[in-house]
């Protein structure tokens, strides 16, 4: 899961123009000014990398990077 998290935060950091190290498991999307478009763009990039389609349900419920990444990681089945 660490590698998956690394990929995700690298993508998000690049989109937001910030240092990936500043994004931790507990970072909220609000803290880094990531809006829903940033989050969806990150999901789309991860879908391309892992060749998977994440479910559309309740994306708005995930407030932290860690909670979203844990949920997505279940979809890719621990690959």
């Amino acid at each position: 899961m660490e590698e998956f998290f690394e990929q995700a935060r690298k993508i998000l950091a690049e989109q937001l123009g910030m240092d990936p190290e500043l994004i931790t498991w507990d970072t909220t999307f609000e803290e880094v000014d990531a809006d829903s478009i940033d989050i969806v763009e990150m999901l789309m990039a991860l879908e391309d990398i892992y060749d998977v389609e994440f479910p559309e349900d309740n994306l708005e419920d995930y407030k932290t990077m860690g909670s979203l990444i844990k949920a997505l990681y279940q979809v890719i089945g621990g690959r």
Partner: protein
């Protein structure tokens, strides 16, 4: 030329959208309109509008993104929405442009996800031409991005410069940053930060801060602001023009011709700038005449090769 029209988006959809399409199909030459939405509903509407049978076909899309939905998340859930399907028709080469009166955020996000932005541009902005006494002022953003970062305002300045070159033929447009005073020290934090970056930017004819009245003074050819202020300003203008019209009418003066340049119905729509395709954003309250003019606006953008011109102008300053 094929134009995809999101027939389900807008306060008066689908009836007024279909009426506008029927009008455009009858008046604009060499176009085919692809109305995107519920096949059965749109067929019924076409019958109600006395369609001649020429220039329009329907492309079915089973979902609609409502005005109150969260744009990016709604697009993920509704891949068969009329705005997403319309945008994909351009991506797959089945249409040259999209016109929508629906959820602006969803229209912007669809273009961003499906087509992407030019290098160096994070988010598209809506650019409109504000009529002034002896010409026009480009204003952006008028509604795509409610919250922006300073870097995005810098990108809007570059896009506005490119749009003024392409749409107005101004070789070296003066670009102003909308603020609450002309001095460098005026503005909120985002504006102050954007000012600091813009004044040192090479390849941009930065005119400094401008005020709301400068939309009409000619001090700048381009006025840059975030989508919250931009949208508020154009809605104030619409209201003010309505008020002036009523007062002149009361005084026995026919002001329709005088004020027609400011009539959003006649303007129709404004293009999303920065994305790799033509997407014309129309007022949510558009009725048939505005829809027709929005389609005409899309035709002009395609005919003038706006996207390529913009990319070319942006490449020069990159």
């Amino acid at each position: 030329m094929r134009i995809a029209v999101d027939a389900m988006g807008g306060d008066h959809a689908p009836h007024e959208i279909v009426k506008g399409c029927v009008r455009a199909a009858g008046l604009l030459s060499d176009i085919e309109l692809i109305m995107v939405g519920d096949q059965e509903v749109l067929e019924d509407e076409l019958q109600r509008c006395s369609w001649s049978g020429e220039g329009i076909r329907i492309h079915h899309a089973g979902q609609v993104i409502e005005m109150n939905e969260h744009p990016a998340l709604a697009l993920r859930k509704k891949k068969d929405s009329s705005i997403m399907v319309s945008t994909m028709l351009v991506k797959t080469g089945q249409a040259e442009a999209v016109v929508s009166c629906g959820n602006t955020g969803a229209q912007m996000a669809a273009a961003l996800f499906a087509w992407g932005c030019f290098d160096g541009i994070d988010r598209p902005a809506i650019g409109t031409l504000i009529p002034r006494y002896n010409g026009h002022t480009v204003m952006l953003d008028v509604g795509a991005n409610v919250d922006v970062k300073a870097e995005q305002l810098v990108q809007f300045a570059l896009m506005g410069q490119a749009y003024a070159q392409a749409a107005l033929g101004v070789e070296n447009p003066r670009v102003g940053l909308l603020s609450n005073g002309e001095e460098e020290t005026k503005g909120n934090q985002v504006t102050l930060s954007a000012y600091a970056r813009l004044k040192d930017l090479t390849g941009l004819n930065f005119a400094g801060n401008v005020e709301g009245r400068d939309l009409f003074s000619g001090r700048a050819d381009v006025v840059v602001c975030d989508g919250f202020f931009g949208n508020t300003i154009i809605k104030v203008m619409e209201g003010l023009m309505g008020e002036i019209h009523k007062r002149l009418q009361d005084a026995g003066i026919d002001s329709r011709q005088l004020l027609q340049d400011f009539d959003h119905t006649r303007i129709g729509g404004a293009p999303l700038l920065g994305v790799k395709g033509v997407s014309v954003v129309c007022h949510g309250s558009s009725q048939a005449e505005a829809v027709y003019n929005g389609i005409a606006q899309a035709v002009r953008c395609v005919n003038h090769d706006m996207v390529a011109s913009l990319n070319h102008s942006l490449a020069v300053v990159r």
